[in-house]
Symmetry: C2
Amino acid sequence: MNETITLLQSHSSIRKFKDQQLSDEQITEIIQSAQMAATSNFIQAYTIIGVKNRNTKEKLAELAGNQPYVAQNGHFFVFCADFNRHNLAAQIEGQDEPLALHSTEKFLVAAVDTALAAQNAVIASESMGLGTVYIGGIRSNIKKVSELLKLPKHVVPIVGLAVGYPDQQPDTKPRLPLENVYHEEHYEENDTLIKEQLSTYNQVISAYYSERTNGERKDRWTEQITKMLTVEKRKTLKSFLEEKGFLLK
Amino acid sequence: MNETITLLQSHSSIRKFKDQQLSDEQITEIIQSAQMAATSNFIQAYTIIGVKNRNTKEKLAELAGNQPYVAQNGHFFVFCADFNRHNLAAQIEGQDEPLALHSTEKFLVAAVDTALAAQNAVIASESMGLGTVYIGGIRSNIKKVSELLKLPKHVVPIVGLAVGYPDQQPDTKPRLPLENVYHEEHYEENDTLIKEQLSTYNQVISAYYSERTNGERKDRWTEQITKMLTVEKRKTLKSFLEEKGFLLK
């Protein structure tokens, strides 16, 4: 196993950071690494907002659900899908707003492009000894987050990322059995088998929590997931995306 | 710059592979690295299909737009968003199909989860000296790709990935100026400035193509992008996703 694979496989999210800010050199290295991720047809459909200002971080933390690590970290990034520059590119070429920007296909392209760049930022950060945690909570009040960051039409926040010097060392969390996630040649649609795999995994996860909480917590994975999916969250996302010119057809 | 950052920043997509297959050990290492990517609320909302069979690869290549490297590579992966297992998880917990699965929010969660895992697979592969290229073309005939891979309801292909031993050494392609992609504190909505940045970048990209084609090709980035976005592609994506139970609200 080489150094990079060891790094990838020892990932865990960090939710407590030391009070030390990233240097501008570190931020540049992270952004340059993010930019070198593959991009669909060279479209480069994202913009990254970096937040240093403590007041802005506090406001973001409030909007994202009051997690302290959104405010207390070494740097906060917001990865946004961005077609504003493509609209301006069309103006340079003497064209109107390109119709494809409104399609579900291009929304997916932009979201995936953004996520690939974000993951490169995570790997770059972790390779420097920094810790990271993604913040989906920025979508909980997405319109207010968008206003705070002054995002124009065609630009939407996809995910936040807190980066900093770790002040905790969480264990890695065991993932689903490989054979549940990886199928060869075609999808193995065997409900009985999948349920067996999930039940075995439930035991792994219950033991994981139990060991770390002196037996207080014993959640099954299927229990966690079902509880989460029973509550519908962020119901305004569709209308927000449409307002911003995405997902219109 | 450490070894991992050097790797991230020297990425270029490989579109010609040697006729050598990945070993099962390499595939396992790649999948395990993919699985350790962060996942929203531990949802792990993806399944990866690995294709070895040459006939299946040939069919995928045909459906994706006849790129030879979809058939000729060391291994082909299809990264799929998957809520089928979450539906089965709910059954284990004695619940009906969770309503949140149908939301735009959860489609975005699944697409981002899938992309983060895919990018870890890319980094793991490249760290072993392998080359990679993402294949968005699998969405060109997404229904037929889905049938070929026997994807059930709640499972959709997001992106393909060809991996193999490189048989070419393309240069890295210069990305957008950092200051165009990275803004501090808030989005810098200055159309004049953005257009200036894009015009400067056009010169970089024209020179890049010109140098590599003895002056035959001199595309501007804004020209490429505008041409691409003027054509609406993959118009059936929205209805396909809805059929599969995604993006219904």
